[in-house]
């Protein structure tokens, strides 16, 4: 196999036949002998004091083994350490309420666990849960960010001084004074990022078996990062990591909602310990919609200024972030929007500040894109608002302020170094594919007939590939987000590769195998990629999120393969009776320099590696590598969208969508396209459909898929994709990331198009989701 054969090839995802024919094995498909089932009794109130919990009736219900409340876990689960809060980019937390996996005196969001019931059958557990009699004293709930910030507003936790989780200024306002004083135009806008429910198609499932003889715990669960869960759970249950195994093979999507630990991750193993039986909990869809860590939930107040000729000057961004009732383990990660709000452009200065606010809702945490979709939306909206003020074509304004290709690596306003880019190239290609000039002419015609048609751009960038130790070490509180891989070559030449990243839909079983097949020169069929079992592979794996799997994990695989090849050379030197320095490895063969015929195939060397070797050379052909990237990687691209708004109904229809993206070198173009399709669809969801809506008392109104409207494939338009390739200098594969690009890029293109469509009515800004009801109202108001 030639080195260039598999990397870059459009091969089918090797995991698909199994998954789409129903042969996947998700956690709920697994069972254990003697398995019992757990149901969680949850608070119906957003905020209340627990007066009493009556468990007697539930205990007598058929099949019930036990009903447990906070008291019962006191000696088993170590307190609030269960829900650590990473420093991320807001290290100084002002109010950080302790979180226990099960409520003690006060419940602070609808759905917070108050008791668990364990029964022989799942239905029996659900029936008995209904019989647990909890008496509550309702407390005032604080639901809105700005309400929660007011002095004297109700407190999300009665025992805390106020609701301000953090107040972090990244660059003070004075730094942008000059940029606003000297400006010809200034635009101001409030931009909303409403709360989203992540809705992985597989809800969360935890199955745990505690073995009282061995004092070992095994957990099977749906998570994006089993090693982190092992770290948290072993700590909370007072066990060493060596006696806890977390297995997470097939996982049906995560979108960020399966990174941080959840109450059930502790409760299920703790109950297994209590009842000495394997225990399973399968989240219902109702629980998932209500309690999966939510995304977004932010308000941005932004000002931007420019010179008459379109030179960008200053930006000021205030982010108000709804943390929910407790700060998420990685909840402050979304503050990265404050460091990225300048987007793909050169600004003289940017000031930014983030305020984290506690409310009586489920916690927010990273959701596909996490901070970067918000930053893109801010940057791209502000550019368009400036373009309107300046009467410039939004394309020209963008071009004028891009850093040129030659300026990379480019240091942006917050000191982050953008590794490589050619922003004009992707924009040019997108304009051509879209037929921009022609579309503008058609728009002018349509407007004459009174139609509301619009065109919107998003020349997005992102930062991904978490990440370099200098940033990620302090952000997590000590652990550097490098990535690990282990390559084991067996005597007959089969290759097992254990990765620390995770696959929950991304297709990395395929891309990882492509990288390894080329690096080792063995057929892809001979390579097995294993993820998601903490008893296999290297000591720690960091998981999949933040578009890091290829740019960090893929490189680790490549490096582990390189180590194997190095060892292989030693073995080959021995069997070819040549000096190690003279061995060349090429296309799966080891040969003597200048004598390609004197060669041994990879498999022959593998076999020899387990045979008699000269003194000093150990048997075996395997290696572990950890890769800590020296920098982040910075994908980018240009999305262009056309919409038509029905002025009578307010319905916005996407009529054309073009995306030209650049994620560096490509391992598998089909997988890149698939990630973009999915991401853009999810972004259409945010732009036009999705929003978690609560009433004043904290009851989730959008609690089913009837009311939480995820678009289906019928609502997704044809998406035309193309790409440019600007390799990353950050890693030897030249790769970046593409897992989140679609969600990062698309909302801005869609909303910019809608704003453009309704601009003849004098409407400047439209918030998400741009539902017909809302748009109709805005149109009606504008016409008054």
């Amino acid at each position: 196999m030639a080195v260039s054969q598999l990397v870059g090839a459009k091969i089918h995802r090797r995991e698909d036949p199994r998954l789409i024919t129903g042969h996947g094995r998700y956690t709920d498909d697994l069972t254990r002998t003697g398995l019992v089932h757990l149901a969680v009794v949850r608070s119906p109130h957003a905020h209340a004091r627990i007066k009493s919990i009556g468990v007697e009736a539930a205990k007598k219900s058929p099949g019930v083994l036990g009903v447990f409340t906070a008291q019962d876990f006191k000696d088993i689960i170590a307190g609030p350490a269960t829900h650590p809060v990473a420093p991320v980019f807001a290290p100084d937390k002002k109010v950080n309420p302790p979180r226990y996996p099960i409520a003690r005196e006060e419940v602070c969001y609808q759905g917070e666990p108050v008791a668990v019931v364990v029964a022989e059958q799942r239905y029996q557990a659900a029936d008995a849960a209904q019989l647990v009699d909890v008496e509550y004293d309702p407390l005032p709930a604080v639901m809105e960010i700005e309400e929660a910030m007011k002095p004297g507003s109700p407190k999300a936790h009665t025992d805390q001084p106020d609701n301000i989780a953090w107040d972090a200024t990244y660059v003070p306002w004075e730094a942008t004074e000059e940029a606003f004083k000297t400006a010809d135009v200034v635009v101001k806008q409030r931009i909303l990022q409403r709360r989203l429910s992540p809705n992985a198609i597989e809800s969360r499932v935890v199955m745990a078996e505690y073995d009282p003889f061995d004092k070992r715990l095994t957990m099977w669960m749906s998570t994006q990062n089993p090693h982190w869960i092992r770290l948290f759970v072993s700590g909370a249950l007072g066990m060493g990591e060596h006696s806890v195994r977390v297995v997470s093979h097939d996982v049906g999507g995560g979108f960020g909602s399966k990174i941080s630990p959840y109450p059930e991750d502790y409760l299920v193993p703790a109950v297994s310990k209590l009842v000495e039986r394997p225990v399973k909990w399968t989240e219902t869809r109702t629980e998932a919609v209500q309690n999966a860590y939510a995304g977004r939930g932010q308000i941005y107040d932004v000002e931007a200024s420019a010179k008459k000729d379109g030179t960008l000057l200053g930006m000021r961004v205030t982010q108000l972030l709804d943390c929910g009732a407790y700060i998420g383990t990685f909840g402050a990660f979304q503050t990265c929007a404050c460091l990225l709000a300048g987007g793909a452009y050169k600004w003289k200065a940017i000031s930014s500040r983030s305020i984290g606010v506690l409310t009586n809702k489920i916690t927010t945490d990273p959701y596909r894109g996490a901070g970067r979709p918000e930053a893109t939306h801010v940057a791209e909206r502000m550019i368009d608002l400036l373009a309107v003020e300046l009467k410039m074509d939004p394309v020209e304004l963008r071009r004028k302020n891009f850093p040129a290709k030659e300026e990379f690596p480019f240091t942006q306003n917050f000191g982050l170094v953008m590794d490589s880019g050619d922003y004009n190239a992707s924009l040019d290609k997108a304009l051509k594919l879209f037929g921009y000039d022609q579309m503008r002419r058609e728009q002018a015609e349509a407007r004459k007939q009174g139609k509301l048609v619009g065109i919107g751009l998003s020349t997005w960038i992102e930062i991904c590939g978490l990440g370099p130790g200098a940033v990620t070490g302090p952000a997590t509180g000590g652990v550097v987000l490098s990535e690990s891989a282990q390559v084991k070559v067996h005597p007959a030449g089969g290759v097992s590769i254990y990765v620390g990243t995770h696959n929950h839909g991304q297709g990395n079983d395929t891309t990882h195998a492509q990288i390894a097949a080329d690096a080792l020169g063995v057929p892809i069929e001979q390579i097995d990629i294993r993820h998601g079992d903490t008893n296999e592979g290297p000591g720690f794996g960091y998981g999949t999120y933040g578009s890091r799997t290829l740019a960090v994990g893929g490189v680790a695989i490549n490096r582990a393969c390189a180590k194997v090849v190095e060892k292989g050379k030693k073995v080959a030197a021995h069997i070819l009776e040549a000096a190690e320095e003279d061995i060349v490895f090429d296309q799966g063969k080891f040969h003597v320099k200048g004598a390609p015929d004197k060669s041994k195939a990879f498999g022959e060397v593998a076999f020899a590696a387990y045979g008699q070797l000269p003194a000093g050379l150990e048997q075996g052909l395997e290696a572990v590598a950890y890769f800590e990237p020296p920098n982040f990687v910075w994908p980018f691209g240009a999305h262009i969208c056309a919409v038509e708004v029905d002025a009578e109904t307010g319905n916005a229809q996407i009529t054309k969508y073009v995306a030209v993206d650049d994620c560096g070198n490509i391992i598998n173009p089909m997988i890149v396209d698939g990630q973009l399709h999915g991401g853009i669809a999810q972004s259409i969801g945010q732009a036009l459909y999705e929003e978690m809506v609560y009433d004043q008392d904290g009851q989730l109104r959008s609690a089913t898929f009837l009311d939480y409207t995820i678009p289906s494939m019928n609502e997704i338009p044809n998406i035309q994709l193309d790409r440019t390739i600007t390799p990353s200098p950050t890693n030897e594969l030249g790769v970046k990331g593409i897992g989140e690009a679609g969600t990062i890029a698309a909302t801005a293109a869609i909303i910019n198009a809608i704003c453009d469509a309704v601009s003849p009515l004098g409407i400047k800004h439209v918030d998400m989701p741009a539902t017909p009801d809302r748009l109709w109202n805005q149109i009606k108001e504008a016409r008054k």
Binding site: Y123, T286, T649
Partner: protein
Amino acid sequence: MIPAAFEYAKASSVDEAVKLLDRLGEDAKVLAGGHSLIPLMRLRLAQPKALVDINGIKGLDHIEVKGSKLHVGALARHVQIHSSQTVKESLPILAEVAAEVGDNQVRNMGTMGGVIAHGDAAGDYPTLALMLDADIVTNKRTIPARDFFKDIFTTALAANEIVTEVVFPVANGPHKYIKFRRRLFDWAIVGAAAQKVDGHWRVGLTNVGPTPVRAKAVEDALAKGAKPEEAAQHASDGLNPAGDLRASPEYKKHLARVLTKRAIEQAQ
């Protein structure tokens, strides 16, 4: 997402079903396609003590024209209704509406009788039944549609009464049903139907109140020669719809007018 425990019995005739209902009492429910009842049970919003499954009853899924009437059996499924040549010829608006109910799964399971008996204001058939003066036939009696839909999820049916068929007039003149919704498989946020019967317009509305609505004021205005646009202004007369997450009351009334206008204009 886990229903409470219930008993289950399968009937093979209407008589048997009625006997079972009588024996099991008030808390028993008929199970047809299950696509309204089971979702409610999963959320424990309905906790019937027993289900009487009528899917095994033969001959309740008939679709036939007798004289000037189209008879649709209670167990005729959406998929049968929208693919039936008889319906396409005798009442094409019904076939078109059936094709737009829910998604494939819903259309494969959901039934005429189930939609009518459920009395959901967002159901599409009730609007047609009401505006076309259909008759709802049960094991006991025949109930005109105008006397059938009483309130939200409330009909004239007694606890042990089973819908056996719905009888529509044959009408194949100009017609149009416009269902305004966000996603292809969604219920109507608002629906508007227009059908010409014997030279006169019939106009009906979906999901603008607790029951389906016949827009008499629009019909009258049209009869007096008003243009569709003018007549449609009356579509919201007397409406007092409840708001929900998709639409405010005001927006629903507005949609009633816009969709009524479009339905009449686009009817063919």
